[in-house]
């Protein structure tokens, strides 16, 4: 029987914390069904104890990412048709993050690394200064444009083998954020930020395997951002500015 003719979907979902097991649910199939639709059906109709996260359902908030058949994905915009294997799904929490319960991870570490990478904009101006003009077609602004649409879903972080090997590695999302600020001509802390990202768990630890770029649901290229940081740090070192 072909997958599209099936009327139910066999869904195995991780239940528990660090220790747990997969539990099977049978979910009715429907047209244009997303993986998030499947999880929501289970929680509302079959098992209200299932824990998962979502908010916007339209690919903006970055809260619904899970491991779907072994691959980290944003579930609200992932159609079951595209990812089901033999009419089934296996859903687990994101890799590389501590599991709280079922499909929910503790994202604290992920966002703390944004702060550790100097992810906060540091203004050089006061409210009495005029708004600074940034030419939209300048190379620096184009570099920002290419990297700015991150929604913080942690799919890249969960897909990064370096984070798995070195748990203190800042990771693709935090470094991508830092790259947008390195290219922000309004920013007032470029040197401190380069020092923050060029440490022993920073941009130089990246092996350019591009798992992040392969999996980013927004089509961003954190690998390119990290390469940019490596170049910027090297230039700063050679100029004696690091």
């Amino acid at each position: 029987m072909k997958a599209r003719e099936r009327t139910t979907l066999a869904v195995d979902i991780w239940r528990g914390g660090v220790h747990g097991r997969l539990q099977r649910y049978d979910v009715p199939r429907s047209g244009s069904q997303t993986v998030l639709d499947v999880v929501t059906h289970i929680q509302r109709r079959l098992d209200p104890t299932l824990a998962y996260r979502y908010a916007c359902r339209v690919g903006m908030c970055g809260s619904c990412a899970m491991t779907v058949n072994g691959v980290a994905r944003w579930t609200c915009r992932t159609h079951v048709d595209k990812v089901a294997v033999d009419g089934g799904l296996e859903l687990r929490p994101l890799a590389n993050l501590p599991v709280i319960r079922d499909l929910v991870c503790d994202m604290g570490e992920f966002f703390d690394k944004w702060a550790a990478a100097g992810g906060r904009f540091e203004s050089r101006r006061t409210r009495r200064d005029a708004v600074m003009r940034v030419a939209p077609d300048s190379p620096a602004r184009r570099a920002v444009d290419a990297a700015i649409e991150c929604i913080g879903c942690a799919v890249c972080y969960a897909s990064c083998d370096i984070v798995t090997a070195r748990p203190d590695y800042l990771g693709p999302a935090a470094l991508n954020r830092a790259w947008t600020l390195v290219n922000d001509v309004r920013d007032g802390a470029p040197r401190a930020r380069l020092a923050a990202v060029a440490g022993d768990a920073g941009c130089h630890a990246c092996h350019t395997q591009a798992g992040c770029t392969e999996r980013c649901p927004k089509g961003l290229a954190p690998t390119a951002s990290i390469a940019g940081l490596k170049r910027a740090a090297t230039r700063a070192l050679l100029r004696g500015e690091l």
């Binding site: 020092a195 990202v197 060029a198 130089h204 090297t234």
Partner: protein
């Protein structure tokens, strides 16, 4: 939680310098390995004996410089790569590891230099 503390400027300088040394030595090695393999291939195809090869390279400053650069690049490249492998696969890093790797770099340079001297000097 395994979030790194804010990095010092000295750490950033060291890591960036090591990264640069790793990449620069890789560029040198890419050229050296190709020249070395082409030379060996040529020698084997010509059916040259060890004696004939030694006869051609002994006392030649060009070969001494080439293999001296090759050894230096390998002595820089290998310990930095091993440092990353130890950090990622063994979770081993810090001052003790760095000191051991400096010794490894010195050993590679010394043994390699000795080999160059023995063949060409």
């Amino acid at each position: 939680m395994s979030v790194p503390a804010l990095q010092s400027d000295a750490t950033a300088r060291r890591e960036t310098a090591l990264w640069l040394a790793q990449r620069a030595s890789a560029v040198v090695l890419a050229v050296c390995v190709v020249v070395h393999l082409a030379t060996i291939f040529h020698a084997v195809r010509q059916g040259l004996s060890a004696e004939a090869i030694l006869g051609r390279v002994r006392g030649e400053p060009g070969w001494a410089v080439f293999y001296g650069v090759f050894v230096a690049a390998a002595a820089v490249h290998a310990p930095i790569g091993l440092r990353a492998v130890l950090a990622e696969w063994g979770g081993r890093r810090g001052r003790g590891v760095d000191r051991a790797l400096i010794l490894l770099a010195a050993a590679l340079a010394a043994f390699g230099g000795r080999a160059v001297w023995a063949v060409i000097g």
